[in-house]
Chain length 199, copies 2
């Protein structure tokens, strides 16, 4: 194992990793917009609550504030160019759905569209806005989830690992790599071993 | 490209991906504790603000609330077993640093220790607690960053991609895989091409 025990102390920086470089869609199905947001995550399991942090200067900021609705779409690695473009270009002067060949589909519960090319979309309704400095945080209820039928197996489970989701880490894009465990494996393996030992 | 255009609509669920299954250390250097938190992310760039969502029943919840301080440590994939154990076991009855062979080092600015085996640690001070249901959100300033000397190159850049960070996605642990771009690449490539075309 590498030795990370010697540390250099820096001032605080906004760096955690890996993160989902989510395509956040907003506006309406007639006039949709999309921007890339890596400053997102889960805040609560029950009820399901998420957030996005957006600079007030961004074109999407006004759209989301006005409607109180947006959709978090998780992109597969194959969409890396669209993800990058939607983080750099502004919807003020560009139709980013057209520029990136993305397809807007109507959502089930919100006015913002979902993105057809993404395997998973979270339909969100804003419950609170917290200004923090460069970014405002939109805390939002996840009111519906749209999952790709092609990834749902016969048991009704979403085989999200097949989608090869895109990851963002310290300014770079990565594919998710090798699977090396599932939640709880460290305890399950121990139980199996102790069964073997005792019987 | 796979066809994700046919959707099945579910009720909202707490699922975004990939996420960092962070080792959150708390308590003191004399009596440290650690728990795994994937419900974390960046909320603001300037000033740097992060959060962790923790169930009030967790042992660490009281420690963090009392001190107002914690550290987010990003684990390499080699620590996957420790990460899983620290999500399943409780510090009430287990010394998880000892159980997982983790080394507590003093932090620069907070009472909670940093974890020697992690390449990057964010020292955090709580600024606000938001109860949302199953989880309370601790919004926190990132006051210091501790980076592994062995990953800092001659230009002072943290080569975090060398650390092979662990990712969490829909109940499973993954290594970060192939790098497929860096922020802004979609625009930089276009500029290069247009230069070629015009000269």
């Amino acid at each position: 194992m590498d030795d990370y025990s010697k540390k250099r102390v820096w001032n605080g920086g906004a760096l955690t990793s890996p993160l989902p470089p989510a395509l956040v869609s907003c506006g309406t199905i007639e006039k949709p917009n999309v921007l890339t947001v890596a400053w997102t995550g889960i805040m609560c399991t029950k009820p399901p609550v998420t957030y996005i942090a957006v600079r007030p200067q961004r074109y999407s900021y006004g759209l989301i504030k006005a409607s109180g609705e947006f959709v978090i779409n998780l992109p597969p690695a194959s969409l890396v160019r669209a993800v990058d473009l939607c983080g750099v270009r502004s919807g003020r002067d560009t139709d980013k759905f057209q520029l990136c060949s993305l397809t807007a589909l109507p959502a089930a519960a919100v006015s913002a569209p979902i993105i057809a090319e993404c395997p998973l979309s979270l339909e969100c309704r804003v419950r609170q806005i917290i200004p923090l400095g460069s970014h405002d945080v939109f805390i939002a209820d996840i009111v519906k989830t749209d999952a790709a039928e092609s990834l749902i197996d016969e048991k009704g489970r979403l085989a999200l690992e097949k989608a090869k989701l895109l990851a963002y880490s310290h300014g770079e894009y990565f594919e998710l790599g090798r699977k090396i465990g599932s939640f709880g494996f460290s305890v399950r393996k121990k139980k199996k071993m102790s069964k073997h030992n005792h019987h």
